[in-house]
Amino acid sequence: MEVQKFSYDNKIVKNFAYATIIWGITGMVVGLIAALQLAYPEFFNDYLGFSFLSFGRIRPLHTNAVIFAFVGNGIFMGIYYSLQRLLKTRMWSDKLSAVNFWGWQFIIVCAVATLPFGITSGKEYAELEWWIDILIAVMWVVFGFNMFATILNRRVKHLYVAIWFYIATFVTVAILHIFNSFELPVSFFKSYSWYAGVQDALVQWWYGHNAVAFFLTTPYLGLMYYFVPKAANRPVYSYRLSIIHFWALIFLYIWAGPHHLLYTSLPDWAQSLGVVFSVMLIAPSWGGMLNGLLTLRGAWDRVRDDVTLKFMVVALTCYGMVTFEGPLLSLKNVNVISHFTDWTVAHVHIGGLGWNGMFTFGMLYWLFPRLFKTELYSKKLANQHFWIATLGILLYAIPMYYAGFAQGLMWQEFNPDGTLTYQDFLETVQIIRPFYILRSLGGLLFIIGAVMMFYNLVKTARSGKLVANEEAETTVSVNINAKIKGEYWHRTIERKPIRMMILAILVVSIGGIVQIVPTLIVKSNVPTIASVKPYTPLELEGRDLYIKEGCYNCHSQMIRPLRFETARYGDYSKSGEFVYDHPFQWGSKRTGPDLAREGGNIKIKKSNFWHYQHMIRPKDVSKGSIMPAYVWLKENDLDVSIIDRKIRAMQTLGVPYPKGYDKLALADLQKQALEIATDIVNNQPAQILKTVNIEEEINKLQKKEIIALIAYLQRLGRDVSITTVTNNK
C-alpha cells in the first residue's frame, strides 16, 4: 500500500467545454437557417440567394457541425474529465491532449471553409473531402493513443463500465471512418468514392448507422454511466445490467445499417438481416435507458432541485423514445410510410436535441462549477433553459412527425380509378409547409436556451477560478511498476512504451493492409444491365455539380418497387443501373420528388428549356416550389480544367471508358454542351429571341455550369428505358 499524489488536467476539459458550446450554437444556427429556407423559400430566393447559403450546401454543414463539432467536442470533454478520475491518473500526455483539441478544432474550421462552397464528397454524414478525412483519422488515433496509454498507466485495476463504452467508441469509429472514406483524389478539392452504386450505399449506411451508434450513442452512454450517478450521488441502478447492456449493444449495433436501405436495390437478404438486428436492439437500448433512470430511484426529489439531473432525465427519456422508434421505423411496413419523409428528421432530432443535446447541457451545468470551484451563476436561468429547450424539442418534433406521416400517406393515396390522388408532388409539399414554420420556431427556442446557458456558464466561470491542475491522491495496492514473476505477458509489454508502440504500429498496419484489399477485390463495375453506359464527360461534370450543390439532400434517385412509387416515377430502380455511380446518390429524403427517371421516363421528362428555367426560377415553372433558385449556375463557367483527370480517375475505378479517352473528353463535352445550349436558346419565347443575338447567346450559354447539370438530369434513367431490362439479381 502506497499513497500516490498526482493531478488531473482540467484545462483540456475546459477547452473542450467551450468548444462544445460555441460550435453547438453555431451548428444549431446553421440548422435554423436551413429550416427557415424550407419555411420561407421566397424570402431566401429574393434576398439571400447566395450559393453558399443554399439548402443543399448548408444542410451538410449543419449535420457535420452538430454531430462532429458539437457532440464530438462534448464527447472529448466528458471523456477527458471522467477518464482521468475513473483511472485515478492524469491523461498520459498533455501534449497529445492539446494536439487532439487543436487538431479537432482545425478540422471543424476546414469543414466550415469547404462545405458551404460545395467542396464535398457527396456521401451523407461523411461529406468532408479526402484530406480532411485523413486529418480526422489522424486526430482520432491521437485521441485513442492518449486514451489507451492512460488506461495502461492507470492506478486502479478495474475498468469502470464507462471506459468500455469509450474503447468501443474509439475502435469502431476509427474503422468505420476509414472504410467509408475510401476515395480516389482527383484534385485537392475533388475525390470519387472508391465504391459505386449499391456497394457504396451499403458501406455508406453501414457507416451512417454506426455513426449514430458509435458516435452519438456509445460514448454518451459511457458518459451517462459516469455523470448520472455522480450528479445523483448514488450508484448506478445495476452495475451488472450495465455490463450486459454494453456487450449486447455493441454486438447488435454493427449489423443494423441496412435498415436505411429498405425496399431499395440492396439484396433482400441484407435488408432482412438489418431489420432483425434492429428489432433486437430495443433490448439493450432500453436496458441502458432504464438503468439510467432507475439510478434515480428514491432520489427523484433531487430532480426537482438539480438542473443537471433534469436535463439528464429528459435526455434519457428521449433516448428511450428514440430507441423504441428506431426498431419500429426499421420494420418494412412502417418504413414504407416513413422513409424519405420528415418523420426521419423528427426521429433524429429527438435523438440529437433530446438525447445528445440535453445530456450535453446537463454535463456542462455539472462541470462548470466543479472546474471553476464555484457555484452556478444562476439556477433560475438554468431552469428556464431547461423548460425552453424541452419546449423547443416538442415544437420541433411534433410538427415534423405530423408532416412526415401525412406526406408519407399522401404519396401512397390512390383514386378509385387507379390514378394517384396527389399526382403533383408539390401538392403534398404545400400541405406540410406550415409545419416547416413551426419546426423552425422549435429550433429557435432550443438555440435561445443554449445561448442562455452560454451566458450563465461564462458568468459562472468568471465568478470562480479555473483549477487547471487538480491535485488528487490515492492509495495504490500494488506497485504497478515492479516486475512480477510469472505475470501475464501483456502486463510486461504495458510497462515498456517502445515495445508497446511497435506492437501498436503493427496492429495499425494490419488495418492498412485490410484497407488496400478492398480496392483489389471489389469489382463494383460489373455491368449487369447491358444498356447501362458510362456518363459522357459533360454528364460527369453535371453529376459533380449535382453533388457540389447537394441536390441529394432533397432528391432521391431510388424508386422503390411499390405501386405508388412506380406510378409516380416510373419503373423501379435496379442495382445494375448504378454501377458507374461514384459515389451513389440515392439520397434519404424527398423534400422534392425522386429523380431516378428524370430523363428516361417519357411521362415525367421535361425539355432542356424547362430545366433551364426551373433551375433559375423554380417558382415560375413549378407553382409553389420551395426549391432554391440556382441563379449562379447560369453565371458560372463550367470548370473543365480537370476533365481529363476525372476520366482517368474513373478508369482507375473501373469505368470502361476507351483507352486514351481522357484526351478526347473535352471535345465531346463541348460538342454536347453546344447541342443543349442551342436547344435552350432556340426554345426561348419569340419576343426574347427577337431582341438577342442568337449565336452570341448560344456561345455564352454553352460554357455555363447549368448546361452540364441539365445534361446529367436528362441522362438519369435513360439507359434502362431504351431497352428491356435484363435480370440483374
Binding site: 499513497v3 499524489k5 488531473y8 478520475r85 475513473l86 485515478k88 485495476k157 478495474h158 475498468l159 469502470y160 463500465v161 468500455w164 474503447i167 468501443a168 475502435v171 469502431t172 474503422i175 472504410f179 465504391y195 449499391v198 456497394q199 451499403l202 458501406v203 453501414w206 459516469y226 450517478p229 455522480k230 450521488n233 448514488r234 450508484p235 448506478v236 452495475y239 451488472r240 450495465s242 455490463i243 456487450w247 455493441i250 454486438f251 454493427i254 449489423w255 439484396p267 441484407a270 487538480e470 491535485e471 488528487a472 491522491e473 490515492t474 492509495t475 485490410v514 484489399v517 478492398p518 477485390i521 471489389v522 469489382k523 463494383s524
Partner: protein
C-alpha cells in the same frame, strides 16, 4: 456485391477484438465484483486530506 465480403471481414475483426476484450475482462477479474465499482466512482479523491484517510467522500 463483393463489398459484402469486406464488410463481413471488417465486422468480424471488430467482433473478434471485442470478443478478445470480453475474455480478457473475465480472466482479469473485471466482472468478479458487480457492485462495488458502482459505489467507488462516487468517492472524490480530489480533496487531499493530510491524514491518510482512504478516498474519503468528505465533500459530496
Amino acid at each position: 456485391m463483393g463489398i459484402i465480403y469486406i464488410m463481413l471481414i471488417v465486422s468480424l475483426i471488430i467482433a473478434l477484438f471485442f470478443l478478445g476484450s470480453f475474455l480478457w475482462a473475465i480472466k482479469n477479474g473485471q466482472y468478479d465484483d458487480d457492485y462495488t465499482p458502482s459505489v467507488r466512482i462516487l468517492f472524490e479523491d480530489e480533496l487531499i486530506n493530510n491524514n491518510k484517510e482512504k478516498n474519503g467522500s468528505s465533500e459530496v
